[in-house]
Symmetry: C2
Amino acid sequence: MNGAESMLETLVAAGVEVCFTNPGTSEMHMVAAIGASTGMRSILCLFEGGCSGAADGYARIAGKPACTLFHLGPGLSNASANIHNARKAHSPMINLVGDHATYHKQFDAPLNSDVIGLSEPVSHWVRSVADAPALPGDAAEAVAASGIRPGRIATLIVPADCAWNESVPPAETIVPSAAPLAGDRAVAQAADMLSNGRNTVLLMSNMALSETALELADRIAQKTGARIFCDTFVPRLPRGQGRPEIERLGYFAEQATEQIREAEQLIMVGTKAPVGFFAYPGKASEFAPEGADLHTLAAVHEDAEDALARVCDAVGAADLAPRLKSLELPEFTSGELSSRSIGVALARLLPENAIVVDEGGTAGSACFPACAGAAAHDWLMLTGGSIGYGLPQAIGAAVAAPERKVVCVHGDGGAMYTIQSLWTMAREDLDICIIIFANRKYQILQIELSRVGAQTMSPKTLEMLDLSNPDLDFVKLAEGMGVTAARATTADEFNDLLGRFLGDRGPRLIEALLP
Amino acid sequence: MNGAESMLETLVAAGVEVCFTNPGTSEMHMVAAIGASTGMRSILCLFEGGCSGAADGYARIAGKPACTLFHLGPGLSNASANIHNARKAHSPMINLVGDHATYHKQFDAPLNSDVIGLSEPVSHWVRSVADAPALPGDAAEAVAASGIRPGRIATLIVPADCAWNESVPPAETIVPSAAPLAGDRAVAQAADMLSNGRNTVLLMSNMALSETALELADRIAQKTGARIFCDTFVPRLPRGQGRPEIERLGYFAEQATEQIREAEQLIMVGTKAPVGFFAYPGKASEFAPEGADLHTLAAVHEDAEDALARVCDAVGAADLAPRLKSLELPEFTSGELSSRSIGVALARLLPENAIVVDEGGTAGSACFPACAGAAAHDWLMLTGGSIGYGLPQAIGAAVAAPERKVVCVHGDGGAMYTIQSLWTMAREDLDICIIIFANRKYQILQIELSRVGAQTMSPKTLEMLDLSNPDLDFVKLAEGMGVTAARATTADEFNDLLGRFLGDRGPRLIEALLP
């Protein structure tokens, strides 16, 4: 049994079932091992950023890691923007990066690069395999490293000879330890703060956004009057009918600071104190009101559900029933297509238990509030801020939950970073409906340009943020990759199309042409 | 004058005229400065790999650096595969990477990452600017660092506040020192080896592939009987009518070792000893015949032209006229479309002084030999082995030489990595004709799979190397981004189309559907 084969059996035995691949020559023995395996599904992407974004989406829905397969340093680089997003989402992921044979690296062949150096900034755990017998054990450790809650990026660099040389039998699965519990003092202090009558905000993310955790937080809110917020961008938020509502912190400093302006106390659960997405001249980076007391009930890696349950008990809220959102559907609009009309249609038509992948940008920002009272669904967000995450993320979510409809709301500018992902959706016949918000500009940047106080809004400056010369035709792009697509230019056309495409099974794309 | 403005004036004064941009919020002051400048042309790409590949192509043709503009760590990551290719081409390039404001980094906002760590593996020179007054001086140093011959990657990380705060006047241009001369002993030894009657090969790349250098090498070959080779992948090779011919080392070990099997002496000029692109089980990594004497006349960074001129004098070849290739055009073929029929048509129809960007892969490999006797042209190659270089490279070449026709021969698999580049070609109306070799597979990998001795060729394995489910429609993809395109399925259709498209001005794409 060669290294690649033993590695693969190790991964499969540890529960890793899917590999998002974009391989090259130095990975051929791993490709062959996957090809010979019945336990590992292989999904080909035409660009590595598709693989890493898909692995992130898979992890957020499946709750366990997929692996990826990349070709040396450049393959890893192409994947790294979406690894960054996954890292900020605390998603578990195992990257298998082929490298030159150990004895070949010294010759600095064209594809040679510092793979370890490229891995470290985007990974929590990095190992370059020493020889074939070490590979299965390293693979078992990679799985365990990725599984440290909420999840981590493990990058295993596999020199070609470590894959092709004779190895040892597969390694036993290493079970990662459970998330540590919040300390008693942290729990007691949170309970005290929640009972002292001061204006209090609970800010939650990551493991504090399970349905159970949300219900616990709602009980605490009912009992103590605290308000419950989630971060602006969270990995996954269960919401809609039958889920407790939670307020989302605004993107811009002036929104967020206003929302929590009156808070005298901030309690963080599964997250850290809120800060600005970017810095702006003359504006503060930190959002917490001046003088507010900040307290961390559960750090990102700690068991937030358990911490919330203990606080719930301590404040005497355990017997309360959580307040669950009822179905509240807005009315369809007619006439001009707008962000709001799209959001409304999505809310009305969203199927039960759908997954919404959100890279809607500014134009798509109406969807989230519009869907507050829609059928129960999960909302996946752009945690790391690197655009081009949405289409790959939708692939991974659809692979993890083939029985659920995935809706991907996407800005036109962001979609072009990883547009190749459409082909994988067609190839795998994934049940994904994509809505492209075609405003034909990097709208967020035109807004930011004025916000940062940049000096000129000259035609040459705006041209750098403009996508209208020439216009992109997303219908042709989708059809060119085997995805059925259509364009909507009015609200009525959009409502019809969305109803039809959500009723279909398989990948569909709507180009929503905004005025 | 803020930091961004002073930086920009510094760059322009140093001769940097083009910026390939894909900016975000943290770069808005640099965007505004470019927008207000008349000396810097801004070219927007929809993906950062387009910018870096374009900067590489620009440098290879213009002989000086362009700059790029990227958004924090993820933007740099997206650019890094083509920075890798540029690095291996020894192209000068200046990357401007926006980062969070200095005081904002501590908060680890969503887009925060280790930008220095991501820069170092792909750059020769990295600096993160300390404050606004330091920025212009750092920019001048970046230009100088990139200009060390043949060329280097300089990455300047610009925290947002260093761009927006008040700065000092633009910095004076720092002229990089000239390439050092080869040592007298190296020259004398080369001359001795060339005169000792033994079988000798000159292996050349980089600065040894100027027209002047090629003519000097040909004189030496005439006088001494030495054979002249270039590396398999070189940044730029002038060839065709009126240029001396040079043999190209084969890609596969068995080709290359056979070509130089009889060599008793190898003299390297502007390159190092030949090694395998990849390692293969049981095959040697080094290609030089066993026992051959290896000698470096000029290292990559040394003045190869000067070294060849001195050797030419020493062996008494200075008065010889170089043998220049005459026009030798193969006949058009008819009937089935094939790699060869495409190569033949290209050779016949290639306009005088064209630039050929070659990412043809296996299917396109007939083009290079077919064009040996075509009209004078430059051939640009994939120096770093990271596919997805061709379309961006063509952008940069066309921007550097608007009066020259650029032909881009490209594999279908590779083209999908940076397919967004087509939009920039349309936007800038670049005179580029693209030929996509649509064999609908990663053919090189199917070949390599057997070459590395991987065990299975199961349907599941081959599926990972296959692009036919669904078929990509490059005509629709091109039209979706504003590029006129058509498909050829026979040699006759192709010959007609190529003639027509090469006669047009502006971007055109032919999908050559191979059986």
